[in-house]
Amino acid sequence: MTRRSIFSILFTWLCCVAPAVAAEGGEHHALPLDAQRLSETLPLTNSMIMVWIAVGLIVLFCRIATKKMTLVPAGVQNFAEWAVESLYEFLEGLMGKHLASRTFWFFGSIFFFILTSNYLGLIPGVGTVGFNLNDAEGHKVGFLPWLRGANADINMTAAMAFSFATLWFYWAVTESGIKAFLAHIFAPKGTFKGIMLAMMVPIFLFVGVLEIISIAIRPVALTFRLFGNIYGGEQTLESLMALVPEKIAFLPALPFYFMELLVGFVQALVFTLLCAIFLKLICDHGDHAEGEHH
């Protein structure tokens, strides 16, 4: 048996057994499902702190990149321009010139924000460094981490998804008008005449109702997809770290960090891509929304 095979088997074992053991495992800092409130008076959670750290870092990076702008870019400016331009061209290829230029401020922001937030959530200490909550007698009753991955908070992912849903409706109506918007949902697709048309109208009305349900489910799906992947990843890392003694706690989680780096990028891309596709489908009257359901 080669060394590579042994490593593969060990890795698979870790993947399968670790969560099970972690579930049974006793005391460790399991990441709670909900973000913790930091202030009694303000609706401020530890995930909101991460939101602003992420924004601060992005702005700082962009300010450094754009400090000495030159027409022939180099160094950080070159990287920043490459990142922004690549995303812009990608969205332009997907949605067309007009829609991309109109909506890039939104898609660019969500992509880089989600990506940065996802990666910040992987920094050691996020979700694990905080303070113990004690009762009046000094007994530990809980743990409050100072920071939490922004996308490991369902309120944040829901805020993004539902904000997009609102903007989606606004863009769809302003791009083609309310009549075309409704026609896109309810009107028969194809050319029917006479009795065929009479038969198709109720069918497409029913299809329209299904379409509305599908549209209503989209932000929910977007919310839970992003939250589930990011929360699940962070939870997996924590569970793996709880498997072994503290001194080598990093070891079982190490391979998964690489996977989480990939997941962080893929999830940012998936969220942005799906939003862009949903918008393209409603604004593009030449095509029918056949492949949009997930």
Partner: protein, 181 residues
């Protein structure tokens, strides 16, 4: 029917409540995150992507301008090549015409010069002939005179008679007639 629907609605509400409680989804946090999100977008648009997009826009405009200029230059080059080709063709045509004219002119000049040379040669020849003729006449006259004097002297010595002018003239004429024959 209504009871069933009401029960279903209650059940749905229960499920929704369970989900929101389990995942920590609550209205104040959600609203706060929506406000947060729009602030995030505004800040990123204003301070992060704005300057980069502006630069990208400038570069795109510059590239477009460069491409437009390139097209213009290519057009100008094509026009210039066309003009140059036309000028070269015209120059070739003019050169050919000038060469032909030069050839014609050279031929005419050559002919003229040849004629002049011939005429000049003829004149020289005529003059030479005239001079030769004059010289010959002069020599002949001289000879005649000398011959007449010799004939007269000889006749005088032979006959011992002094000849008159008429005699001299007649003897000279006879002697000359004999010589010229």
């Amino acid at each position: 029917m209504m009871t069933l629907l009401a029960e279903a609605a209650v059940e749905q509400a229960g499920i929704l409540e369970t989900i929101t409680k389990t995942f920590g989804l609550n209205v104040p946090f959600f609203i706060a995150q929506v406000i947060n999100f729009f602030l995030v977008i505004f800040i990123l648009k204003k301070f992060a992507f704005g300057p980069i997009q502006e630069m990208l826009g400038q570069r795109r405009a510059r590239i477009a301008e460069g491409e437009a200029k390139l097209t213009q230059i290519q057009q100008q080059l094509a026009e210039s090549e066309k003009t140059t080709a036309a000028a070269i063709a015209k120059a070739n045509e003019d050169a050919a015409r000038l060469i032909n004219e030069a050839r014609t002119s050279a031929a005419a000049l050559s002919e003229q010069k040849a004629q002049e040379a011939i005429s000049s040669a003829q004149q020289i020849l005529a003059k030479a002939e005239a001079a030769a003729k004059a010289e010959r006449a002069a020599i002949a006259a001289e000879l005649k005179k000398e011959f007449g004097r010799l004939v007269t002297a000889t006749t005088t010595q032979v006959t011992g008679k002094i000849l008159t002018s008429d005699d001299q003239a007649r003897i000279n004429q006879e002697a000359l007639a004999t010589v010229e024959r």
